[in-house]
C-alpha cells in the first residue's frame, strides 16, 4: 500500500488512544484535576447515568474553575457541553475535517451503544503520521523479475545499530503483499535476521535480496569477506568464530547457520576463502 492509500484506510479505531478516562457529571472538579495530573492526560470525558457522553473537561475548563474558585463544584458546572463524538468506523478524512471545522482537539470515539471506547487527540494523530512517514522511509524499491518481485537491502559490516533493518524490511514487504501465512513470514524473518547478523558480524559488507513469487521465496545473502573455511563445520550447532563483543549481544553462539538450515526448506552455501560467501535460502509457499 502506498502512503496515501494507507492514510485513507485509517479509521477512528486505528487513530484513537484507548487510554480513556471518564468520570460522572456529579464528581468534583478537584477529582478531575487529580485524575488528569496522575494519568498525565489533558482531557476527561464526562458521563451520565446511562453511560452516555455529556461533556468533556480540558485544561482550559480547569483553569477557569480555578480562577472562579469552583474546584469543589461538580464537573457538570464547568465542563464543556458541546462534544463531538465519532464512531469507530469513521475515516481519518472525516475526523480531520471535524477537528479543523470545530477546532476541537479531543473527539471521544463511541461504540454502537454510545459508550465511549477511546479518544482521538491531536497528539495521537501526530504520532500516527510520524510512524507512517518513518515506515515510508524504510520502504525499498521493489523490482519485477518475471513472476517474482525482487527487493534488496544493503547490509553494512559491523553496524550493530542497524542490524535487523533489512530483515524487518523483508518481513514488512511480505506482510504488505498479503497472502502469505504468518508462520511462513515468521520463518523467513528468522532466517533473514540470522543471515543479516552473519553479514554484520563476519563480512566486510554485503546485501540481502528477497525474491518473492506466489509459490516460492528465496533469500539471497551475498557478502565480500573472509569466506567460510569449512562449511560443514560452520553449520554444526555451537561452532562459532565470533568475538566477545558479539557474544555479549546474545549472538555468536554458533547457532546462526544451524537455525537458517532448520527454518528454510533448502539452503545452498557457496563460499570462496578470502573472497566472498553467497547463501541462498529457499522457502516453498504452498506447504
Amino acid at each position: 500500500m502506498d502512503f496515501k492509500a494507507k492514510l485513507l484506510a485509517l479509521t477512528a479505531k486505528d487513530v484513537m488512544s484507548t487510554n480513556l478516562k471518564t468520570l460522572h457529571f456529579s464528581q468534583k472538579t478537584n477529582r478531575a484535576k487529580e485524575i488528569m495530573r496522575l494519568q498525565k492526560i489533558g482531557g476527561l470525558v464526562v458521563m451520565d447515568d446511562n453511560n452516555q457522553v455529556v461533556g468533556i473537561i480540558t485544561m482550559e475548563n480547569l483553569m477557569i474553575a480555578l480562577e472562579k474558585k469552583m474546584m469543589d463544584q461538580p464537573v457538570e458546572k464547568i465542563m464543556k457541553r458541546q462534544v463531538i463524538t465519532v464512531s469507530c468506523t469513521d475515516c481519518l478524512k472525516k475526523i480531520l475535517h471535524l477537528i479543523q471545522k470545530h477546532n476541537f482537539r479531543r473527539l471521544p470515539v463511541i461504540d454502537k451503544a454510545g459508550k465511549p471506547v477511546g479518544i482521538i487527540t491531536s497528539s495521537k494523530i501526530i504520532d500516527i503520521f510520524t510512524n507512517l512517514l518513518e515506515e515510508e522511509n524504510d520502504a525499498h524499491d521493489i523490482k519485477k523479475d518475471g513472476e517474482a518481485f525482487v527487493v534488496a537491502f544493503e547490509v553494512e559490516s559491523g553496524d550493530f545499530q542497524k542490524l535487523g533493518e533489512a530483515s524487518t524490511g523483508v518481513k514488512n514487504v511480505l506482510k504488505d503483499m498479503g497472502g502469505f501465512p504468518a508462520s511462513l513470514i515468521r520463518r523467513v524473518g528468522v532466517v533473514a535476521y540470522e543471515g543479516e547478523t552473519n553479514i554484520v558480524i563476519h563480512s566486510l559488507g554485503g546485501k540481502l535480496e528477497a525474491k518473492i513469487s506466489p509459490t516460492q521465496i528465496n533469500l539471497i545473502f551475498s557478502d565480500i569477506g573472509p569466506g567460510i573455511a569449512d562449511i560443514k563445520k560452520a553449520c554444526q550447532p555451537g561452532f562459532s568464530t565470533a568475538s566477545e563483543q558479539v557474544k555479549e549481544m546474545g549472538f555468536g553462539a554458533g547457532m546462526g547457520l544451524y537455525n537458517m538450515e532448520k527454518f528454510a526448506d533448502n539452503i545452498a552455501i557457496k563460499s570462496k576463502l578470502g573472497t566472498a560467501t553467497i547463501i541462498n535460502a529457499e522457502f516453498k509457499v504452498n506447504k
Binding site: N131, G164, Y193, E194, M255
Partner: protein
C-alpha cells in the same frame, strides 16, 4: 493470565505496551542467547532476559513475541525505547533477578511451551 497480571506479579514498570495489557499469556521463554530465542521461542511467548540492546527488540519482533521483560534492574537507552515503540512490542523492566522472575511466574502457573 494476561500481560497486566504478569506485570503485577513481577512488580514491573511498563515502559511500552500499556494498551496491550489485556493480551493473554500462555508461555514463557527465558534466555540471554538470542539465537536460542529465534530457534525455540514461538509466537506470543513472553521473553525474560538480562540483555537490553536493540537486538533483543529485533529478535522479539522477528519471532512475534508478546512482550519483553528485562530483569535485574536495568534501564534501556532512548534508542532501544524508540525501536520498541516503532516495532510496537510491550517492554517491561523489573528489579528482580531473572531467576526470581522465572520462579514467580512458574509459581503463578506459567510454563515453558511444551512442558507441564
Amino acid at each position: 493470565m494476561n500481560l497486566g497480571d504478569v506485570a503485577a506479579i513481577l512488580e514491573a514498570k511498563v515502559l511500552w505496551g500499556s494498551e496491550q495489557l489485556q493480551q493473554e499469556v500462555l508461555h514463557v521463554f527465558a534466555a540471554d542467547m538470542m539465537s536460542n530465542v529465534l530457534l525455540l521461542a514461538d509466537t506470543n511467548d513472553i521473553l525474560l532476559t538480562n540483555l537490553i540492546g536493540n537486538q533483543v527488540i529485533r529478535t522479539a519482533s522477528m519471532t512475534d513475541l508478546a512482550a519483553i521483560i528485562i530483569c535485574g534492574n536495568k534501564e534501556p537507552d532512548s534508542q532501544v525505547l524508540a525501536l520498541t515503540k516503532k516495532l510496537n512490542i510491550p517492554l517491561f523492566i523489573v528489579s528482580l533477578s531473572l531467576f526470581s522472575c522465572c520462579g514467580l511466574l512458574y509459581e503463578a502457573g506459567l510454563r515453558a511451551r511444551g512442558e507441564q
